[in-house]
Subunit: 264 residues, 2 copies
């Protein structure tokens, strides 16, 4: 049987139905704290709970690829428009497909990870009752994909586990890529960049060593020649301004100080 003959006799509905969804872990930094974009579900199941923005991948006549679906969901369900999206880094995180993760039917979700500079408060989209940048520490994540008892905003489905994976990926990506600059405005100071690392990693870094290290990595940042119009928050000289360089990977890498625990 040739391909044409086979395809004519092929019935896609002969199998048990499966849906493919997209969920986006969109991270940004606001007021010196790491925030994740959440929407409050306006429809069942789990109506009223907070969840990662997402939805089903379009198939059939208006079929779209996974990357396109993720960009669309991020824009659509939050009011972040396409022109702001090109300053957002978007990459695939992982696929989640436990049989009982969604009560409606078998849903396999492809999660994406987004790094965004500071953005306006989102407005809720179609199926969402609300949308908000939410401080990650307020979610009480345990590090094992669950939330501590008593946390106010319980996440829907397995979204706590997806978010945990996204955070770990983000922490790791800052080590060996130049993506920390995507959390910053187009022009930024080294102390601002250091604040990004400190916020995502959750540890304080040595200001002097960090400064020298960033400037020593080729292509990480390039000088604008200009100087910030204000000094540090609580005093100090004005810092020089930089923009992102052309390096995608940091070499040598900027490693987290303490990860002894994770080795074994």
């Amino acid at each position: 049987m040739g391909d044409e003959e086979f395809l004519a006799s092929y019935d896609p509905r002969a199998y048990d139905p499966v849906a493919v969804a997209i969920d986006v872990v969109a991270l940004t930094i606001r007021d010196g704290a790491l925030h994740v974009l959440l929407v409050r579900r306006g429809v069942p199941p789990q109506e009223g709970r907070w969840a990662l923005p997402g939805g089903f991948v379009r198939s059939g006549a208006h079929a779209e690829g996974l990357d396109a679906a993720a960009a669309r969901e991020l824009a659509e369900e939050t009011g972040v428009h396409a022109d702001a999206l090109d300053r957002v880094h978007l990459e695939q995180l992982a696929a989640y497909g436990a049989p009982e993760r969604d009560p409606r039917m078998r849903v396999v979700s492809v999660a994406y990870l987004a790094f965004a500079p500071e953005m306006p408060e989102p407005r809720a989209g179609s199926d969402a009752a609300d949308a908000a940048w939410t401080p990650v520490p307020s979610l009480g994540l345990t590090g094992h994909g669950s939330q501590r008892p008593g946390t106010t905003r319980r996440l829907a489905f397995d979204h706590a586990a997806i978010l945990t994976d996204g955070l770990e990926r983000a922490r790791s990506k800052l080590e060996y890529t130049a993506l920390a600059t995507t959390f910053c405005a187009p022009e930024f100071t080294i102390p601002e960049l250091r604040a990004v690392y400190e916020t995502v990693w959750g540890e304080e870094l040595h200001a002097g060593n960090f400064h020298r290290k960033v400037l020593s990595v080729p292509g990480f940042v390039e000088s604008t020649g200009a100087t910030s119009d204000r000094g540090g928050r609580r005093g100090g000289p004005r810092a020089r301004l930089y923009r992102a360089g052309d390096a995608r990977l940091l070499h040598p890498a900027l490693l987290r100080p303490s990860r002894e625990e994770e080795i074994r």
Copy 2:
């Protein structure tokens, strides 16, 4: 509307059908060359072409998770049995969902990456006309997800791109994890371990420096006290035997010598 009421009225077949498949990039080392497990397709579409082993995820009554589906496909379509599987490392690679990647219907495939020690020749499973460990260099990969013109074994669908991604992931994983030992027998010598790195990375390493480096990373290997019963291939003293240690991550990492090209 509550969850129960909503679910009773929910019709999964209202959407355009999508299938979720698994594809496995299974790598091993044979005769000093990197090999990937391929099956020759015994059914349309692309009947007769070589492809990554895989199949559709089971849904409905005998639903399985993604990891379980990958392990089942690897065992089923190749005759690698469950007892041999526990010496295989299996991890998720990425999801591929371009709308036209499969002519039958919309198929989103979740690819897995497997590292296996030397194994017997596979036997073809249900839908496969043949199965074989295939030398990766013989596939003429370009590094951009395509194959050089004139290559004998053209891979089906987008499997050349998936394989390219899997190889890059494998190269990268050897740098900062202890997974190189999963390519080896339970007891191995440092020169054998070095051969794994040289084969996957495609570059020769300095024997003396590699030896000292491996022993200096805590938990990478542990001595068995025994000694190999033969010397090197073309002479030299017998090497000492080691087994895999308890470290999952290498600290400090074992970096590839030359990756200047990939930075920008």
